[in-house]
């Protein structure tokens, strides 16, 4: 079980232009860029956004090898996309398979590669946000971005608070599960064995896990009471978010990157 750095998620510490942007800027810009890429239908434009994402990784001083690591879970989807396009697109056959009545076409291969590249650009852009921003900074940004919606009943502070509590407790519960498992093995519980046995062994693992989760919930609520926690009203933050010149430059660059798609939509 991989437990290293689970609270940091994909975050890579660094001190680059992108790392130092306000998290709100990063959320806004990456969402805008991703939306733009969804509207790309020509190879030239795709190449442009591929260059943009390479430039962004360069600005963040993150090696592109890490971008590839984020693409690994999509490998199956990519193979599937390329194969289906190659086989089902009409065109000049490059290679025939008479037994299955299928033919691989050049046009199909190109289309498959185009769609694969488009998904890759999207994934890479999305991963840049989480590679350069700590989950806690994202939580702060979410709270700030939701604040205007408090008037219509969105509990901005509570959402951010609950996000940080779950981030805090995921590693704890994983450790707890591991400890309960060992404790039950030491008492003679059968963890391995046939499929039926494996599934049965979940019951003595999960019941203590739930009981301890509820105990923790009560303790945490009591501890918050003891420190006079009373929600978001009048609460101050240790880290204050503020926009700097760099953030405005980032907004301007995002706008500039939007020009090719926006002009394409009009024509």
């Amino acid at each position: 079980m991989k437990q290293v750095n689970i609270t940091l998620g994909q975050f890579l510490p660094g001190n680059s232009y992108i790392h130092n942007l306000d998290p709100r800027t990063k959320i806004f810009c990456s969402l805008s860029l991703m939306t733009l890429v969804l509207f790309v239908h020509t190879p030239q434009l795709l190449l442009f956004y591929l260059c943009v994402s390479v430039l962004l990784f360069f600005l963040a001083r993150i090696s592109p090898a890490l971008a590839f690591r984020n693409l690994r879970p999509f490998l199956f989807l990519f193979v599937f996309t390329i194969v289906l396009h190659a086989v089902f697109t009409a065109g000049d056959p490059l290679w025939r398979c008479p037994a299955l009545h299928l033919a691989v076409t050049g046009e199909g291969l190109l289309r498959g590669v185009f769609y694969t590249l488009r998904i890759s650009v999207l994934v890479v852009m999305a991963s840049l946000l989480t590679l350069t921003t700590q989950p806690m900074a994202l939580t702060d940004a979410v709270e700030h971005l939701l604040k205007p919606f408090r008037k219509i009943g969105v509990p901005a502070h509570e959402i951010a608070m609950m996000l940080s509590i779950s981030l805090r407790f995921i590693p704890t519960l994983l450790e707890e599960a591991e400890r309960i498992k060992k404790a039950q093995i030491s008492r003679g519980a059968e963890i391995s064995g046939s499929l039926r046995q494996k599934l049965r062994s979940l019951v003595p693992l999960l019941i203590p896990l739930f009981l301890s989760t509820f105990r923790r919930a009560n303790e945490l609520a009591l501890a918050m009471d003891a420190r006079c926690y009373r929600g978001g009203t009048g609460r101050t933050n240790y880290i204050r978010l503020s926009f700097s010149l760099n953030d405005f430059i980032a907004f301007a660059m995002t706008l500039a990157a939007a020009v090719p798609v926006l002009s394409g939509v009009r024509s």
């Binding site: 939580t139 509590i165 989760t213």
Partner: protein
Amino acid sequence: MPARQQRSGHVSISLVLIPLFAALTATGGIIRIPLPPVPFTLQTLFVYMAGALLGARRGAASQLLYLAVGLMGIPVFGAGGGPGYILQPTFGYLLGFPAAAWLTGRLTASLPGRIPAGKLIRSGLTAMPLIIGPGACYLYLNLTFISGTGITLWKTIWTGIIVFLPAEMIKLVIAAVITERLTAISRFREATHA
């Protein structure tokens, strides 16, 4: 939402229980049992239990929070995490979690104390289409529009629905057994509804 229910000076237990259940579902996404042909993760087990133990609204809130945590880049979904996960063909199943927790909660809410295993199995079976339905639709839409591949309806039904059913049933039964035992402890029910 919890903010409205707070008594002055007391932290609502919901503010703590909701994130802890989100963390439990996350744990379920990380612990996996190697089971051929697909790895068996426990998320949906916690989805049904969140509905049954926390009630409809808080159960749904906990699953929404789980989605938020995963999208923030913590690897708590089946195959990782991060905002790019939206593009995964299997993201639709995750989208159904809050709705399924809500319905399970609604269907088991009338019971004052112990929730019998049979009751949860029936409620879970009613809620299961809320996970599998959006999941299969998303699979179809994702493969058709995002990767531009055509997929036949029959293939969607097979790879998107039927393949998942046996494992889903096993998880639901385990969830029901555990919930019955947990809710039999009276102290436990009091804690969740404080």
